[in-house]
């Protein structure tokens, strides 16, 4: 039996119920979306919400010499944190605490007190001081016992045990700039106060050197107040970088430049067999340690440092060392007769202009003698015989005017000089220019590393290697993650006997002539001095050389440049000698004797 109720409106009631079901389904679907589909996203947000991390900076990867001497390492540094307690803290307590901390930190007490108070007000873990030296840490360890809430976090900071040693290549550390933060802020766990490499290897291998920071994970509430300690994550050290630098060679080179007439200059030493950089010096230099000092209350950091790396960025005329190119050009064109002699009257005339030699060498100057005495007149004549175009071509063969390709930013390419270069600049080439070119003066410009690479090319008879300074990189577990492969850039192919002839002349230079200063007993040293005329002051001194044990192939090539050193023979050659002795281990006895 069905009774019909007049007051009952089934259509509208059922519509209401259907609407209710539809709404419930929409709500249910959205709940499934939030709690099931997007669960991971919200979980991450929740974790981020409730944790605060006190970071521990990981030890940065070390930078070492090829034989394992540490050039850049780490020192223990400590950060002092204050984690406020949940219950209120008495004012007297804070006063004594801030007083004690200030005493040990050499900081104004008011500043420490203000930090403590803001920490308590916000309830957040706050860093009172960073980069505290280990000497002070015992005092703080003691304070930690007396006062609750103090927390000492062990960290590390960069340390360069040898000071300014190899500073230009190593680089230095600093706070990151905005551009870096934008790019890397969310990768590799960088934080706003993280230190990063600002130049040299430190910058170039930032990714490898940077380890994974550890930290103390705290649970915080919505106000950021610390509730409890969740976990302690250990850091992971960065990768160690083994350079090709030879410590002894580098040391000898640095000492040599420092003791030279002006103390300014550059040295590059290469292994001519593969292009490995054994030493690279640029002076004036700087001590990278000043950028990672202990204590935040240290002196203000210096704004300007001599960052300019003369070894790859300094451009100078090669001067007499260039005579080798002239000789090779003449030999290659068949116009060099080593036995042909000339007479040096101290000058030569060309188109009515006088071109001087640095000394009046007299009669019977043949090729060997011309090279040994660095006689300008001989090479003026040889240059005219060879022709400017061939000398220019020889420069191109040796890749003058092009970067050596060493993996460092800012390397200069230098300048070649010759008729076609002139023609490109829409000016004329005069006879006098040929004379200037033959002895390496004029618009010709080379960097010390190009000079060293030139010496290496002569040493290995034509192979041009790309200079490199990284040997291999090992990660925190000691696993090799990178090994550098030497790269042959080009090979200079000359007529047979060309290199032998020139190298014999270079040996003569060192054995009993202008390069005598670089002579080392028991080692075959080949070299050439150079004195670059400098219109603005004293002349610069060059010495480029390579050396070998008797009967072996050369395994050391170097270029020494002394700015304002007045001459290559006096200023640069003795430095080369010390470097060669250091390389062959011949200075040990002397050292012990001291």
């Amino acid at each position: 039996m069905k009774k019909t109720k007049q007051f009952f409106n089934p259509k509208r009631l059922s519509r209401l119920l259907i609407a209710t079901y539809i709404v419930a389904i929409i709500i249910g679907l959205r709940l499934i979306d939030i709690q099931f589909i997007s669960h991971r996203k919200y979980t991450e947000a929740a974790e981020q919400n409730r944790t605060q991390i006190i970071y521990q900076t990981a030890p940065r990867g070390r930078i070492l010499t090829e034989d394992g001497k540490v050039l850049a390492g780490n020192q223990a540094a400590f950060s002092l944190y204050y984690i406020p307690a949940a219950e209120p803290t008495a004012q007297e307590y804070l006063n004594t605490l801030s007083g004690d901390i200030a005493k040990y930190l050499d900081a104004p007490q008011a500043e420490i007190l203000a930090k403590l108070k803001s920490a308590i007000k916000s309830g957040k873990a706050t860093m009172l001081a960073g980069n505290i030296s280990p000497k002070k840490i015992f005092s703080f360890a003691e304070l930690q016992v007396y006062y609750s809430g103090l927390y000492v976090v062990e960290e590390t900071k960069r340390y360069y045990p040898n000071g300014a040693f190899l500073a230009h290549l190593l680089g230095y550390m600093g706070t990151m700039d905005n551009a870096f933060w934008r790019k890397k802020g969310n990768t590799l766990d960088y934080r706003l106060n993280s230190k990063i490499g600002k130049s040299g290897i430190e910058k170039h291998f930032e990714k490898e050197l940077k380890g994974r920071d550890g930290g103390l994970i705290l649970e915080v509430d919505y106000m950021g107040r610390v509730k409890q300690k969740i976990s302690d994550a250990k850091w992971r050290a960065g990768a160690d970088i083994f350079t090709t630098i030879n410590y002894d060679v580098q040391k000898a080179a640095e000492d040599g430049i420092k003791k030279s007439l002006t103390g300014r200059g550059a040295v590059v030493a290469l292994n001519p067999r593969n292009g490995a950089v054994l030493a690279m010096v640029s002076s004036p230099d700087f001590d990278p340690n000043i950028f990672s000092p202990y204590s935040d209350y240290a002196l203000a950091l210096p704004k300007k440092i001599p960052e300019y790396n003369l070894a790859i960025q300094g451009l100078y005329p090669p001067a007499s060392t260039f005579k080798v190119i002239t000789a090779l050009a003449a030999y290659e064109t068949g116009r060099l007769n080593p036995r042909e002699e000339t007479t040096c009257n101290g000058k030569i005339y060309m188109n009515g202009r006088e071109f001087k030699c640095w000394h009046r060498h007299g009669e019977h100057i043949d090729f060997m003698e011309g090279m040994a005495q660095s006689c300008d007149v001989y090479f003026y004549e040889l240059g005219i015989k060879a022709g400017a175009s061939h000398i220019e071509k020889m420069q191109r063969l040796f890749r003058f005017g092009r970067q050596t390709g060493i993996d460092l930013p800012g390397e200069k390419s230098g300048n070649i000089y010759g008729p076609s270069k002139r023609a490109r600049n829409k000016t004329y080439w005069f006879g006098g220019d040929t004379l200037n070119l033959s002895i390496g003066q004029g618009e010709l410009l080379l960097t010390p590393i190009q000079m060293a690479n030139f010496a290496a090319t002569l040493a290995n008879k034509g192979k041009i290697w790309r200079p490199y300074y990284i040997d291999h990189i090992t990660d925190y577990a000691g696993k090799n993650i990178f090994t550098e492969q030497p790269k042959l850039v080009a090979e200079v192919k000359l007529k047979p006997g060309a290199f032998e002839l020139v190298n014999a002349a270079l040996k003569g230079v060192v054995d009993n002539a202008t390069g005598r200063g670089a002579k080392v007993n028991g080692i075959d040293v080949y070299g050439k001095t150079g004195t670059a005329q400098n219109p603005h002051g004293d002349d610069h001194g060059w010495f480029m050389a390579f050396a070998a044990r008797p009967g072996q192939e050369p395994d050391l090539a170097l270029a020494v440049f002394v700015e304002f050193g007045k001459g290559g023979a006096g200023a640069a050659a003795p430095i080369a000698r010390e470097i060669i002795k250091a390389y062959y281990g011949l200075n040990k006895g002397k050292k012990n004797g001291n």
């Binding site: 119920l17 919200y42 974790e47």
Partner: protein, 452 residues
Amino acid sequence: MAIKFSTSSEQSIKRRTIDYVLLAAVALLAMVGFLIVVSAVSGLSFGGEVVKKHLIALPLGALAFLFGWLFNYQIYNEQYKALYAMVLALLIGVLVFGIVSRGSNSWFRVGFLSMQPAEFCRIATILIAAAFLANHHKTIKEFKTLLYIGLIVLPIFALIMKQPDFSSIVVTAPALLVLLYAAGVNTFYFALIFAFALTAGIFPILWTFISMNPASIESSKILYLVWQLSHSWVYITGFCLIILALCWFVWWGLRQFRLYVPVIFLFIMAGIILAGFFTGLLVDKQIKPYQRKRVEAFLAPKSDPKGAGYNVLQAQIAMGSGGVLGKGFFSGTQSRLGFVPERHTDFILAVLGEEAGLLGTLGVLGLYIIVLWRIALIAALASDRYGYLVCCGIFGIFLTYMIINFGMLIGILPVAGIPLPLISYGGSNLVASMWAFGVVESVYKRRLTVIA
């Protein structure tokens, strides 16, 4: 599609005096609510007091349920004028004798218990309106009945607004609409009401949007006009004239198709739209800064995650991180660490979502659907018009609660600050809700009694 309400003999013959399904669902909700409130407040400094008060409210709620169930609901019909007088007296009383808490004067204090009369007045308002509609069912299709209903509830709303307790009205007004709809009010009037509500609501929202993005007026001509409407009398007058002209044009257009609509309807429509517009203007000028913040947060929750949008975002993070099974009772980190605001009242569902997971939230949603379904069923079984209307009104109340609470949490409605009955902490709300369920059960109990 229509749902068939079984009024078959089987239902009628059974001499059951209480609907166990509804009772079980309500009891389960209250249990879940108690658990989650205890969990939510553990760790709060005033947590113990909350639990104590909730423990007192539960038996009081049971009493209120018994009271509602045992009393014949038809008493409310007969004595609706007395009930109306009581409601007004209570509301005036709370304004005079009440205590101010959190900026609103809406509490009576008896001993250490405090009572919020507005909670009971919500239910009473529905009972009164249902009584009026039952007594005037012959003129239900007429506009004047609607007008009378409006006049009856207006003093109640005005007194509640005086407290101020805006959220009470947010719940009662939609419930009244549900009641009117179920009572059979002419659909045209609903169209009018919706047109009114739409115009009254859309303009303040648009103005808030424009004040948030001042650049938008330059890019959009329409928004520029809307913006001018908020303060320029020239534009407002023009707007009125355009609306009137539009209505006349529609009337004229319909005439061309030989559809003769009484011109009065169109002018009522125009009047309603304009009335809505001016109400919106009034609301926009009167709205409290915190309420505007809520609207802003609703329009763009991500724009200021630490500000107004923070609460909803944090509630969603808490719910989302709970996953399917939840983190377990007493283990929700987000709510425990204070990221979820008002965690034992307005945002209790977030705590539930975090600790009991999707199962918890869907479970509560499901129980609510069961409750609503049973109330609708009992409405269909009622023996008289009044019983039917009361059930529909109470249906409307709980439907509104459900939609607002869940809707706010999932980001489809702005934050209104309304607790979820039976789940949230709130003694008055719990007792009033239990009373309402008792009344529904009373309708069920007396479904076979035929009164002339």
